[in-house]
Symmetry: C2
């Protein structure tokens, strides 16, 4: 390899550290549990140990470009403070960057996890042929990231892409953020489960009710399994989810007219169940999508055939993420590559 | 003056042509009626005559940087075709740029009118201290423009900023575009009148009913006059308009985290009547606004005191446009200045 960087994906559950070369080839990946309960010092020790091990191991083969870390929460770029992080309790207003730099005795780049996931998909994933992309991550919550000109579009305070709390149902379900009808209340894993429970409460919804009462985990995944088996109640949950996601995407498409929008996160694996409703809403609600949609919308239902281009104008692609949970890891490793340019 | 350019604002009603120096000083402005009924050739003749007169008059004093033209409609940047223009019937798919260039024997820059208005406000108006802005224009319809790094953010097809048809009420009023609940159905001049008529139909709304039946034009302006006189029905119309505009702005603020959002167009003169509802929605619906709002929201109600900055983080400013109908003219004149950089 020519040069390499180290990317870290600090999640609430897993802590992953990888050495990646500047062409995006994985050199080595380490996966640890994030021992959140042992406190932030313990987690940072684990992270720094792994970074140092990788850095030592490869430093004679190629120069280390730097270290990028994706963190779940809002980061103050100037101070390196983690301002808010629901998945890392006790870390709020903690000088994460300074602490890591103190232990490693080198500069690190901190970035929001949804932003690095977008950067990863833009560098090596579903949007690798594009320099301008938006990514929506459907996980426990809903996150987002925007990449313009191959770099994260951070906005004035590093908060650009905070789309999880955009309103899609103005008089809808209350959200923990204080708003009503946020997309996170309709398109996250938690929201899918809540909507399924609402369907059970409303009409008994027998297959859903059996799954919910079976003792096995009642999750977005188990509801998706029912949907693909043809259960109408489960399918309706995902259609409604798709409608809400379509409303949000329609606004992003009209406002930004980007060439590609990537949908990732765990819930995106239910693509077949919600995507048709997304495209229905887009065709109806996004003037810009209607004017730029690929000729056969079905062609964009699969990531593999996403790069449809016809006619002279650019087509608007809505597609699934390709890198799964590695998007954030690669995106984090990309940060020092960009900085070094 | 050092150098100058010619800006044109080709509206459905007025055709305005101005010579502006590269510092943004107006040199001379010509206002003509847009004789739409006489056909596009006639309008283009009028425009080219005026451009040539101004260009002749000043060409010995300073070099002409170029000619920028703001056009109501979607422009295909590659071909210079006007793809769609409700206010210029018969111009769709017309090679506007080629025709003008043929007559003037020089290159011209064509741009969407809402985009040039945003550029004008960013260069010389409410956002002149900022390089990244979004502008929402509340006129007969609702338009928008985004400026990033002092240049129009055009998106993949030149359609970025097409926010008039973003959904704010998913099950709301049908729009001519085929969608339901577009912001244009709640925050345009036509929408204000429609909502007032709906209030009359619903509950008699006496002062509104008198104004509507008085024989004088029943317009957004006359409804605003009632609102500032304290008529509760008229005030409710603008509060609802503000709510819808707030929902849209909340999504833009969360997605883009820009430092400033400028509200312009004729209906923005009803600011006092709708702005409080806009700020209520923003505080509740935009996580990013809540985290970055200026300390006293009232301070942003007036353009004059818009540039509030406190603390270390950037504050999100929502403010009125300052240049009125000249924004598009200055923005058009700015196009050749940017091109020449």
């Amino acid at each position: 390899m020519n040069k390499f960087s180290i990317g870290v994906d600090l999640g609430g559950t897993n802590l992953r550290i990888a050495a990646v070369d500047d062409q995006g080839q994985l050199v080595e990946k380490v996966t640890l549990g994030t021992k959140v309960s042992l406190g932030r010092d313990h987690v940072i020790d684990d992270m720094c140990d792994a970074i140092q091990r990788l850095s030592e191991k490869f430093k004679d083969s190629a120069p280390l470009l730097g270290i990028g870390i994706g963190v779940p929460g809002i980061i103050d770029k100037e101070t390196g403070l983690l301002r808010e992080s629901p998945n890392l309790p006790g870390w709020a207003d903690y000088p994460v960057r300074a602490e890591i730099e103190r232990r490693l005795k080198t500069i690190v780049i901190l970035e929001n996890d949804a932003n690095v996931a977008a950067l990863g998909e833009q560098w090596l994933g579903a949007a690798k042929d594009y320099s301008d992309i938006a990514m929506v991550t459907l996980g426990t919550g809903v996150g987002g990231g925007i990449v313009i000109g191959g770099e994260i579009f951070r906005g004035a305070n590093g908060m650009a892409g905070e789309i999880g709390h955009c309103t899609v149902e103005p008089d809808g379900h209350p959200c923990g953020c204080g708003n009503i009808g946020c997309i996170e209340q309709y398109a996250s894993a938690k929201a899918v489960v809540r909507m399924a429970r609402e369907a059970i409460a409303r009409n008994g919804a027998s297959a859903l009710a059996r799954a919910a009462g079976s003792g096995a985990e009642f999750s977005a995944q188990s509801i998706y399994n029912l949907a693909i088996q043809g259960d109408e109640d489960a399918r309706r949950v995902f259609r409604y989810m798709g409608r809400c996601l379509g409303i949000l995407l329609a606004t992003l498409v009209n406002s930004l007219n980007l060439p590609i929008y990537v949908i990732g996160g765990g819930v995106s694996s239910a693509w077949d169940a919600f995507a048709p409703a997304v495209f229905d809403e887009l065709r109806r609600r996004a003037l810009v999508y209607a004017a730029t949609a690929p000729p056969d919308p079905a062609a964009t239902h699969e990531g593999a055939s996403a790069h449809v281009k016809t006619g002279s104008g650019h087509k608007t692609i809505i597609t699934r993420a390709l890198l799964g949970s590695d998007a954030g890891l690669y995106g984090a490793a990309r940060l020092p590559v960009i900085e070094a340019r």
